[in-house]
Structures are given as C-alpha cells and as structure tokens.
Amino acid sequence: MNIAGIELKNPTILASGIMGTTGAALARMGRNGAGALVTKSIGPVPKKGHNNPSMVELECGYINAMGLPNPSYSGFCEEIGIAKSKTDAPLIASIFGGDSAEFTEVARGLLSSKPDCFELNVSCPHAEGYGASVGTDPDLVHEITASVVDAVDVPVWVKLTPNVTDITSIGRAAETAGASAVVAINTVRGMAIDIHSGYPILGNRFGGLSGPAVKPVAVKCVYDLYKALDVPVIGVGGITCPQDAIEMILAGASAVEIGSAVHDDTQIFETINKGIDAYLQKYGYSKTEDIAGLSHEMI
C-alpha cells in the first residue's frame, strides 16, 4: 500500500522510540511483520538521555521520559544501513532538533544512509528545548517542516503532540509546509509519584503517557485531523490489538504505528495484520484504504 509517499508492506508501523536504537533491533521488528520501521529520534549531537527510571508500567499504560538518547546522526547512519540491508520494510528516520537549522542538519546528515522517509519529532513532551517545546507553535512547525522538506528528496512526516489546545492548527501548519503525512499522537504529558518515598517515579520527574490509557485521546486527534487535513494521518497511541487498530483506521488513520504494545508481544505486527485482514474479509472490504475514515460517514 502506498501511503503518504512510501510503499508500506502493511498498515502496521513500528513507532519511534521502540526497539529503534540499533539497526539489528529495527530489522528484528521488520522480520516480525512491521510494515515500516521508524527509528529512535536522532539529533545533532550524542545525547545520554535522562536518568532512570525512564519507563515504568502504570495501571493503564506506560509513562516514560527517555530524554532523546541517541548517538547523533553521524553515529546512526551505520544503523540505518544495517536495518535497510536486513529487512525490506521501509525505514523512516525520526529526527529532532532545537530549530529548523538543527533539523535540517540532522536530515542532511542521515541522507547518505538512504532513509525512505523522515518523521519529524516535534512532540516529545519531556525534552527541554526539543520536541513539544517547538511542536506547540504552528509557526515553528511550519518553518521546521518546510526546511526539511526543502532539504531532502523523500517524504517528510510530522509527528504531533496532543498536548495542545488545538492539534489541527499544528497539523495544518505541517501540511501547508509540505508534509506528506501527519502522525498522531506522541505521548500525553503525565506523571506518577511513588507515594511511599514521595518521589516522582521518573528520573525526569514527569514524562509522557502511552498505552491503552491514551487510545481514546489518539482516536479523537486522528478523527479531528482527518477532517481538517488533506494529507494522510498515521494513527498512533495505545494500539494493542486488531480492534484498536481498526478503531484508529475508522477514525481516519491511513496506517497505524505501534509502540508500547511490543512490551507484551514482539509479534504484535503480525497479530494485528491478521486481525485487520479478518475484519476486512468479514465486512466485505478489499483493503485497508476502504475503511480509513469511515466513521465520518456514519451519521
């Protein structure tokens, strides 16, 4: 299926930050059935990330604040090469920076490794000066997107934060600047406190919520973006089973990304793909595209 400028093997994509630190780990997820692979977010210089705990399973999901650890684009080119050599799933490079110059530097720096697409992380909720620090301002998102689109010759997707008053205004800025798709959502700002010690559990004190807890939030964002934009929407947030993926697609997603659910099942891509196929067959559809956004017509 061709979505937003790249040829996906199927509609289930490995989300950024999950098994995306090495080419080998990415390739493993490709072998496990992912339709495309998004890398860990890569920046201009090596970054250690926040102190641990950096990810903890809560009652209804996960909270994390990794802090964008990465070996920088120069350190990561080799990993993209390995991933591409060991799987035929398209490779999407997630990148971040503090401004459009940094974003462009990172994108250019990775071009030699031939990623099939870039995903701009303007949405990580817990990295000061990066991620949502820039992604809550439509003008900055427009500027960053436009410069990366200008600098590379592959599609550019923009991953959005739900932690804004109006996600469609950010999505529109990305679309206007030439993004081939928007990806929604990144994690939801959240926090957990250990009541016995009194300490916030994450090393960074707060972080981003993922997993089942955020699925209704993601479905609503995807629904709104589908209505507001012309470019495809990639749905992500709390998908753990075929039913979740189908719900997201009915809301308006052309494809879905899967993250935290890898915790319970590294074969999750295959499971979800089979479930989507069974659903399409049961209800007489021939392909995922037939049901994308269908809930908008049910009135």
């Binding site: 930050g17 999950i18 098994m19 995306g20 630190t21 090495t22 080419g23 080998a24 780990a25 990415l26 390739a27 493993r28 997820m29 860990k40 090596p46 970054k47 250690k48 990330g49 102190n51 641990n52 705990p53 950096s54 990810m55 903890v56 399973e57 809560l58 996960y62 994390n64 990794m66 650890p69 990465n70 070996p71 920088s72 350190g75 990561f76 390995i82 060991k86 957990a192 250990d194 016995h196 010690s197 300490y199 559990i201 090393g203 993250g259 935290s260 890898v262 915790h263 590294t266």
Partner: protein, 258 residues
Amino acid sequence: MRPIHSKITEIIEESPNVRTFFFDTHFETAIPGQFVMVWVHGTDEVPMTLSGKNSITVQKVGDATSRMFELGIGDHMGLRGPFGRGFTPPEKDEKVLFIAGGVGAAPIAPLADIIKARGIEGHTILGSRCCDEILFRERFACGRVDITTDDGSEGRSGFVTDQLAETDTSDYDRIYVCGPEIMMYKVFEILKTRDVHVKTEFSLHRYFKCGIGVCGACSMDPEGLRVCRDGPVFNGSELEGSEFGHYERDSSGCKCHF
C-alpha cells in the same frame, strides 16, 4: 509495575567494594539469573541480578551504587521485578559446572543454593582479584571449589580461564558463567573450541533504559536480542557471532569496544 518500596533489613559487607543488601520484599517467584531494577531515590535506577530471593549484591562502580553504599538498615529503595530470562536449572542427574568471576558470583549463587538443596553435585571455578574479594564461597560448597585469585593470595594464581583450560569439561551437562564480559568471552572461546558452548549459559550486562524490553537500548547485534528481556541469560549458541565480547553501547547508543 510501579517500584515496590523496600526497606533494607540487613547489609553484609562482602568485601571493601561489595555489599549485599537484604530487603523486606521477597521475590518468591524469581528464577536464578533474573534481575530487578533498583531505584535509588533521587539518583538513578540500575539493574541488579538477585543474589537471593530478597537480596542484591552490589559492587560500588557509579553514582547509583555509591549512593546505595551511603544507605543503612531501615532505609529504602524501590524494586521492580523480577524481570528477564534466568538460568535453566539442571535436571536431577545432570553434572554442573559454575564459572564465576568477581561480583559475577552473585547471579549464580542462587542456582548453587538450589542444586545443593536438590542434592546435585556442582563444581565451581570461582575467581577474584584477591583473597579478600572471594564471594559466596560457602554457597558454592556443593562440590569441589577451585579458587583463583589474580594476585595469588589464595588458591590458584591467575584467572578462571587458566583453571578452565586444565579442567575437563566433557562430562558436564550444564555450565553456568557470569563475570566481566572479557572473562566470559574468553570462557566462551575455550568452550567453543571444545564444542560444549551449547551447554553453557552466560549472564550478560548491558546499559538498560526501560528494563522491560521496549526501548531497545540493550539490543545486541546482529539479532537485536534484548539483554533485559530475551536475556540477561543467554545460551552460548545464541551468542555466537554476536557483539558479545566485542562491544557494548553506552547510554546514548554509541558503541564502546572492550
């Protein structure tokens, strides 16, 4: 799971740089070789293989472990676990060899406890830098114990590999190894030459972020096996041709060669 608020009930100073902390939290279902994430409030959280159902044995090496050494009985840490894949325990009639270097004796000791309780005989090669740092020698008293010390202050002078080179391993059904990666890799090479590495299990260390198999920070080349979830214990056959013994990655994901 959230960290379990765990009170330190006892501290044993095993050597100047190694202490065993006992907690009021017991991980009754833990399999030897499984680990817990140990949260030192306000500092960091680090993985520690359980040295007992309610204990970890810690070498002072960084911020988190240094802070731990400032804690006393009645103080608390947060524990999450048990996580990961532990050792495969031996069957009743199997012959067992343990090879442990330094604080690497800690993950293996609970296995020695088990086989002792089951009446299985186990042979141990137990290495350390000097006689003051020999760890858990009494827990390995389930058969012959060959001690090696780097400085020759007790037992054989030299490394566990020197002892292993002179040990006939053909009779052992299972060989369990833990220690510094360089040591483990040398053991691996010897046992591979003898074609018995498939009977061998190694307990590995890597930098963990999530500790629960999601982030991929501890993935090993070339298969992308996660040390925190697919390991930390691996069969020798799983490590053939891997990064094991060659390099690991730091917290930013950059390779660090041994």
